[in-house]
Symmetry: C2
Subunit: 343 residues, 2 copies
DNA sequence: TTGTATGCGTTATCAG
DNA sequence: CTGATAACGCATACAA
């Protein structure tokens, strides 16, 4: 085996307890002994066995992250943020992919329990009341990020952007650019925070701005490029009078919409303005580059990790705290100003 | 605490040894006892404590993955592949981000050693001889993926695509489309597999095809969008006679090159053909969509994981095995056929 | 301040 | 086939 605390103790002519103390700083140890122990630890390249430590303390230096899809840029950026603070704190991150499958999520949660994860972050997972119950029963605190529970009473700590306000701001941006006939490519109807709430935001904005939006202007996609194309086509087919602008709930769908519009003989932004959401890198790479709403996913991830550590330190499972990360409308070239007085 | 093997043993009126046996199937147990034990385990929702197990066996069900940047699509797709097979095997994946910092990599490697990871995969890390030495000294087997060691004698098992042949095929594709003046936006000069080897492939292709490539046609980027733009500009500025096609070593740089070309008043593919590499989703999203070389990163990841498990099972640290994953040239719309007889 | 001794939950060895 | 019991490496309550 590798070198253990006993080896160190013997070599430094102290007890194992003393070695343990200098390692953890748990109790005062005389400078002299500290020096001796440290020296031996260094020399023998001693690394505490995390199993033994975990067994003794019932704690690990692992936090789990459950996501639906690692390769989704929004998610991977969030993970990056989580990783950033976890690494600082000396924790490592166990990334688990659920493919959006509820049963798999439950399984992963249980596996994380076996691994004695000290905390878990759920990124972009759809969670309802029954899930919340189960989760509060786990051995570790949980925080949700990028997605919030559809459970009425918020119990699980959550870090998220304001989906309603973000959409309101996006619609206002379009309105300020002269658009009143605005199409909306939203998320799935069963997706609480990113589907339902954004639609809510859209309706609120339309109301308060006095926009008259026919229901055929509103279509549901699934955040993918392909669905963006399809939605664009549907809007085109189901309306004799097209919108002048279309707001999509993800940059990816916006990209699909641009492509769909092109196939329909519409060019962006001359014939039609299109706005995205997220501000993933893609928004900059596209031509025309996308006007969009920037959601700072890295910050959301780091903030979520911070909240998790706070919970871990306080020993609470959940305080119901809800943290909003501010978004920002980004102007690029996919939205044209159609106010009469300027062009 | 939670329910332990002792609780199960007591409840089922057997010894802890028997419980352990039915859990692990390590030794034959009579059907009767097996049934009883299983029943109690089910009923009490017993989950073995992975610390205790690890302490006893000195093995974990964790494999580590060290990457430079999680949010890089190439990397996250590779991780997805790794995750896929790891999950099947009942292993979970510890994802560590090094930001490409060599010191951090070493630190993470050591942390993984503490965690008693059963194996580690290095994705897209630059590794040279001295690093190889250290890595062979670790407690676990290591396999590299997407990047190979610049160490002459290959010792660490590696799963990778054939960077030389892939570029040769790309150049041939351009050649078949009538291009003989071909620019090359390659990777960093200090990047062994994706920088140096691809350049090697380019030179070999140019030679065998009898292409005359001025050195001003060859520029180094860093795989980013921005560097793609810059490289395009540089090629433009440093040549009175422009290439008819430019091959970039990543889709991202190709995207930047397209954008750079546009700023220069060149439209793709009418005035200039541009070809990418990787076949990330971006290649399809762009307009025109990119002709590129498809590298199946998901498969590379899964294959790497399989190789790692093979190593773990055989108990070897490294066998020097080198596995190539086949690539494929994908024709889309960023490359124009300029042979005289067909437009 | 330091050392001793025990427990943490499993696996594995060795008798039975 | 089954059951005691000794590791495994560390933390910590208790003594000194």
């Amino acid at each position: 085996m590798s070198v253990t605390i006993d080896d160190i103790a013997k070599e430094a002519k102290v007890s194992t307890a003393t070695v343990s103390r200098v390692i953890n700083g748990s109790k005062a140890v005389s400078p002299e002994l500290t020096r001796r122990v440290l020296e031996v630890i260094e020399r023998k390249r001693f690394k505490p066995n995390s199993f033994a430590r975990g067994l003794a303390t019932d704690k690990s230096s692992i936090i789990g992250v459950i996501v639906a899809d690692i390769s989704n840029p929004v998610i991977s950026t969030t993970i990056k943020g989580i990783n950033h603070v976890a690494q600082q704190k000396g924790y490592t991150v166990l990334v688990c992919e659920s493919d959006g499958d509820g049963r798999k999520e439950q399984m992963l949660l249980e596996r994380l329990e076996e691994q004695k994860a000290s905390g878990v972050i759920l990124a972009g997972m759809n969670v309802d009341h029954s899930r919340v119950e189960k989760m509060l029963d786990m051995d570790f605190p949980i925080v949700m990020v990028t997605q919030q529970s559809s459970d009425g009473c918020i119990t699980i700590n959550t870090v998220i952007h304001d989906n309603i306000q973000a959409i309101i701001d996006a619609v206002s941006f379009l309105y300020d650019n002269g658009h009143t006939r605005i199409g909306f490519i939203c998320g799935p109807e069963n997706d609480y925070s990113s589907g339902i709430r954004r639609l809510e935001g859209f309706r609120m904005a339309a109301d308060s701005l006095g926009l008259d939006i026919p229901s055929s202007y509103i279509v549901h996609g699934d955040f993918s490029y392909e669905s963006g194309r399809e939605c664009m086509t549907r809007i085109f087919e189901e309306n004799t009078r097209m919108p002048t602008a279309v707001l999509a709930c993800s940059d990816l769908m916006a990209a699909g919409a641009v492509s769909g519009a092109a196939s329909l003989g519409l060019s962006v932004p001359q014939d039609l303005s299109i706005m995205g959401f997220d501000d993933t890198d893609l928004a900059r790479y596209l031509n025309p580059s996308l006007s969009t709403v920037r959601i700072p996913y890295f910050e959301e991830g780091s903030k979520a990790a911070e909240e998790l550590f706070a919970l871990m330190e306080s020993g609470e499972k959940a305080t119901g705290k809800l943290v909003f990360i501010p978004h920002k409308v980004i102007r690029r070239f996919s939205v044209r100003n159609i106010k009469t007085h300027d062009s």
